[in-house]
Amino acid sequence: MNKIENNKAWFFVIPVFVVVAFSAVIPLMTVVNYSVQDIFGANSTFWTGTEWYRQMLRDPDLQAALLRQFAFSFAILAIEVPLGIGIALLMPKKGWAASAALVLVAMPLLIPLNVVGTIWQILARTDIGLLGWSLSSIGVDYNINANAADAWFTIILMDVWHWTPLIALLSYSGLRAIPDAYYQAARIDRASRWAVFRYIQLPKLSNVLVIGVLLRFMDSFMIYAEPFVLTGGGPGSSTTFLSQALTTMAVGQFDLGPAAAFSIIYFLIILAVSWVFYTAIMNAQKDKSAQQ
């Protein structure tokens, strides 16, 4: 759509600007403020400059947490995106079955994060949980509190269970937006099922998938409550992700300076990855629309 140039449009965005600035800029400045000082009490603070930043970047625990975080985010994206599209393709399209399917598919999304953790913590127990009990009764030595591989498997399964529906719902509504004429044309051309998916459905899904993938990346990168409830970050620190490492430092040890410096680094990493991602996708879309 051709947009008109009009700077008066700023009046429309002022409310958003004010609300978001209040809840984003002031707290962010507080964090920046902490990150460059050493605070002993209300009135005794010392300027430390970039000291905390250097210390945090060299911290082996945080580097390990960061690597774990990337491994986790990419693993769940690699599973959830194809699976979500697949489920969207399978969902009934008309009538009461479509409504029922929507409500059922969306259910895991609406469960509070720590309840999700609780559900899976129960499921993973070998005495009272379905998953743990089934696995141990077929002879698998399954214990999320002792075995890091089991803990990882359970956390990824939990996230896939919880968030695949988001990709599925977005893809489903993207699919519903494709006019029937496209499918009729494909039928006349005798296009195969795969060709219909590759050249009609997938291109139309790209917009909703951009939102889905970005949301999943950001949220999985900030994951906190679910692994905290499920494994508490263990065994050892094998499932301690960035948010938990940060919270332990800020609240548990009350090291505000280092924790704040770490926050800023954390935020910048998400920002950088999302920006690269966002720009790449926007450029790809621009190229595509230029070709048409």
Partner: protein
């Protein structure tokens, strides 16, 4: 037919964890810890009755609902005009402003929890519903603008122009004509706002103590000195799913109608 079966298999697998929670919530603690069983042998509703008759429990649901709906109202009110501006006009700094809004969706709650606590304490809003609602706008406003903008870009601009020629003032046009046109978009947006605010724990827990404590925080109380009260925990968990199901049910037709989002 094959696809129908595959879908049913998925739904069954997906519902299993939820079924397990429901199953537990209908048992007594001794039965839960006794032996693993696939359905309750001594069906009991005591766990639910405990929660629904104790105001220190059920007020948690009321508190959660209150700040979630406040957040939805605030987010939609500020996001609607902004999304309109982004979808219709070019203005100085529009792209940067949009990305800046989005960056707030990327801010980890763990980073913001402590500064939020200090900010809201200093303005006297600590332990109020509005504090949590405002804190949640941090990520929800960006999302609302993003989704609404996609829907608004799909409305032809000729409609705006025709309305002006017919003598509609802008506010009247926006409320009477434009908002009804994108009501599917508002429905879908409301669903996502509800979802992200309802499930969030860290900020909601940090910003409240007793007056506005969300249900997620109250649930931790089932871990007492004598071990975990599994039955009550499970029942409380099941009850957290119910409002969400109601919300999806209301917006199901908007989602089923289909939408293709994104800035193009």
């Amino acid at each position: 037919m094959k696809s129908r079966i595959a879908f049913i298999v998925y739904i069954v697998l997906m519902l299993l964890p939820i079924y397990w929670l429901v199953n537990m919530s209908l048992k007594t603690n001794s039965e839960i810890l006794g032996a693993l069983s696939f359905w309750p042998t001594n069906l009991t509703f005591d766990n639910y009755i405990n929660i629904l008759t104790d105001d220190s429990w059920y007020m948690g649901y009321v508190n959660s609902m209150t700040y979630v709906f406040m957040n939805m109202a605030i987010s939609l009110t500020v996001a609607l005009p902004a999304a309109y501006a982004f979808s219709r006009y070019k203005f100085v700094g529009d792209k940067h402003l949009f990305f800046w809004l989005l960056t707030n969706k990327m801010a980890p709650p763990a980073v913001f929890a402590l500064p939020f606590f200090q900010l809201y304490s200093s303005v006297g809003l600590f332990d109020t519903h509005i504090a949590v609602a405002l804190a949640h706008t941090l990520f929800n406003v960006a999302l609302a603008v993003w989704i609404l903008e996609g829907f608004m870009s799909g409305v032809p601009k000729e409609i705006d122009e025709t309305a002006y020629i017919d003598g509609y003032s802008f506010p009247r046009f926006f409320v009477k004509i434009y908002i009804p046109l994108i009501r599917s978009g508002i429905g879908v947006t409301a669903f996502f706002l509800f979802m992200f605010s309802w499930i969030e724990l860290l900020l909601a827990r940090t910003l409240t103590s007793t007056g506005a404590q969300p249900i997620q925080a109250i649930m931790t109380r089932t871990q007492g000195a004598s071990g975990i009260d599994w039955g009550t925990l499970a029942a409380a968990g099941v009850l957290t799913i119910v409002p969400g199901i109601a919300v999806v049910y209301f917006v199901r037709n908007h989602i089923a109608k289909g939408f293709a989002l994104g800035r193009t």
